[in-house]
Amino acid sequence: MKRGLIVWLPLALGLALMAGLYLGLRKPEGHVIASRLVGQTLPEFTTRPVLPGQPPSASADFRDGRPRLLNIFASWCVPCRDEAEMLVRLKAQGVEIDGIAVHDDVDALTTFVAANGNPYRHLGIDEAGRAQMAFGSSGVPETFVIDGRGRILYQHIGAVTEDDGRKLIAMLEHAR
């Protein structure tokens, strides 16, 4: 009897493998790729200025003792338009937000902030996705919480909702 069971073992393992692969196929596609830089110092980056009088975002402006948000977005991105109102409200509550616009241009961004508000302290265009890659960001919108020493505390992936806004404010308070 014992020998009989062992003979069936490869078949059982094969069926288990197939069942696993089948379940894997049924799983919804899309894998959230979190940045590995959370907990580390923010990477060096610079951006190209967009609006006259508004400085471009750059890594050198962090580490000034003031925690703030870093929002990676684009004028062509629909969820970014959806979260803009929430970001403007965060700004009204005293939250500092620096913006990085990826694959964007000055005209489109000028129109975007005219229509959706400009919640940004600093705003710049990311040339060739260099800043986005340096952050390990895989899409827009994403929002990073940076503490006063320039350390990345948290990465929020997707549009910032009202609940997310409260969470981000709590983190910034805590980082102070």
Binding site: P10, E29, R36
Partner: protein, 135 residues
Amino acid sequence: MIAPLVFAAALAAAPAAAIPADPPDYAQVALADPAKEAQAAALMDTIRCVVCQGQPISGSNADLAADMRRMVRERIARGDSPEQVRAWLVGRYGDWISFSPRMRTATAPLWLVPLGALAGGLALVARRLRRRSTR
């Protein structure tokens, strides 16, 4: 993958006589040095596009994949080794971005499970053969 590159190279080359050439956009244009381009191309075939996820960056039309191809070629041209560039990307996006996973505790089963299955199968066959010969 080759056809768009040739096309892009043709586009880049055609107006060169008429207007001063812009620096080539390495997202679409091969490096001039064939040895370095071969290194870059091999690396790009094993870096997963984080937008389309099933495709390598060499075969993806996503903007971010183009950015990664540009970055890969620029770094290889500057003298970085393909593994240095891979490590830079893995340090930001995790093992998931590489189609050529590194051996570590979490990824060890990728190599050990097939070896274990082979060993188990051989043991079963050996037992069966031994029993048959002693009968």
